[in-house]
Symmetry: C2
Subunit: 305 residues, 2 copies
């Protein structure tokens, strides 16, 4: 086997009260990627889309992730990776993570699945480091493991798979730019202990609700008193989208990643479509371009084609 | 039926990273309580122990909890409650909660189990308000529900039962007094967001570990960067007890309630007994009196005799 193709899906991180730890994998949108063995010990990047991402492997997230894998594997060949991105960079639904994870999962298959999922997350984090300046696993963990994941710790890396019932996401991506630095600067450095207690009580309840399939508890516990109040001002119509989505039957939701995308979870595909309709109505009244995706939460992350 | 007797067990709250929300019920120690219907619309308290607790029902936690239940039930009779406490007040293992909960569970049985567990928690919180000045459910929730409980919210009251595997606790109660006011004052008012994130990542992981019976993950996630560092100075030999207990095979543990009791969890009764031995060795070198209890985590809280 000299060539492997994958679909590498979008992911949602910072799931409401699960800031910096809880994320999940969508079924779509996804990037299409093909990785091939090449004789030279190097990484070659071929972009088949119009995003103009770097082809210098040291400046491309898939390139640095593959290099991390190659350093660990100590192999005498290299990889060529052909990327057709459909997940727009900067959308807040794990575009960089999709590139890094797709590359390392495909390359690992070419090496006979030599590395564990945890090791693949570690390699893919090199891509996140390049993209955002921090080694975080919020998106790469669900990308590699699928479903819901909780990053208990980055150093040492500790990833927990959280069981969950049928769930469907509606994600709206308003085509505005939020600079990562701005989204970070707007966060409080310190938080009142009483708010932190409420947040971890909600996260503990949300994990229990996901594990036991209790949709009502999920709805009650999807509350964020810390990050959402600080960041929602960066996203036009945030409150309106959230309120109208809840009225349309969504369980709960919030900012995806550090925005500008917003997500809402629903129990059925029908409700997720109804949420899409009301989101569409709200954003049609603005002059902002937007995409809306409806997708189930997928138990797999990167998938072989 | 005019009389009901119960065993009302000790409970552990503030379970490591679950400060102010996560607690569990022990099998022992427990208070023995008998509640009887009486014709007068009043509460009478009879103490059968030597703790000298108030017999004025407005100043006794069981009295005010029963009064809250009577106000809601609108009955034309009253209750007499006879209490033999074995859980020393101020021990940090839910002594006041045991009294309040035993009283309302027994009285509810005399009323044909008219009230739900959630309502009983609400009544029992009147006792906690009297004892500590705040309406908190950290101990009364596991007392009423048994097992592990997470108090997602006090207002509105929302209690989540967390599934868990076989677990055994070793609890040491050093006979020193920690004033609640002092234990509170020593807590930081604000915490760094990055520490709060670590705490909720650990709590999310701990809930997942309990639900799935993953003892290793339980061990890794029983970490408290916020409350334990602030409060442990109030408890002599805290670090020594913790470290030697972990070395003896305990999964993890920390301060029970706001102290002075400490608890450690183990996978088997044998390990819990080994932990008792090493705790005993540490405290025997001090001039502080102490009790050590070994108990499984009980799926029931207050039990009928």
């Amino acid at each position: 086997m000299d060539e492997v193709s994958v679909r590498s899906p979008a992911t949602v991180s910072n799931v409401v009260c699960g800031f910096d730890c809880l994320g999940f994998a969508l079924e779509e949108p996804f990037d299409e990627m093909t990785v091939r063995k090449i004789n030279d010990r190097e990484v070659r990047i071929i972009n088949r889309d119009n995003y103009g991402l770097p082809t210098d492997p040291t400046k491309n997230v898939a390139g640095v992730a593959l290099q991390a894998l190659m350093d660990a594997a100590q192999i005498d060949h290299g990889f060529e990776v052909e990327i057709t991105k459909h997940i727009k960079p900067g959308s807040g639904i794990g575009s960089s993570s999709a590139s890094s994870c797709g590359a390392v999962v495909a390359a690992n298959r070419l090496l006979g699945d030599r590395f564990s999922k945890l090791e693949l997350v570690d390699f893919a984090m090199a891509g996140e480091m390049l993209a955002s300046g921090t080694r975080h696993a919020d998106n790469v963990a669900p990308s590699i493991y699928g479903g819901f994941t909780l990053v208990r710790s980055v150093d040492p890396l500790d990833i927990v798979e959280i069981d969950f019932p049928a769930l469907f996401a509606t994600v709206i991506h308003p085509q505005i730019e939020i600079k990562t630095a701005e989204a970070r600067a707007i966060l409080p450095k310190d938080v009142p202990l009483k708010d932190a207690v409420k947040n971890w009580s909600n996260l503990g309840a949300l994990v229990a609700a996901l594990s036991s399939g209790d949709y009502d508890l999920m709805a009650r516990s999807m509350v964020d008193l810390i990050v959402e109040p600080a960041r929602k001002s960066l996203i036009p119509k945030f409150d309106e989208v959230k309120n109208i989505s809840l009225a349309a039957g969504a369980i709960g939701g919030g900012i995806s990643g550090s925005g500008p995308s917003m997500f809402m979870l629903s129990q059925t595909p029908e409700t997720a479509e109804a949420v899409k309709t009301v989101m569409h109505n709200v954003y049609s009244q603005t002059d902002i371009d937007f995409n809306i995706y409806v997708s189930r939460i997928h138990r797999e992350g990167v998938r072989f084609v």
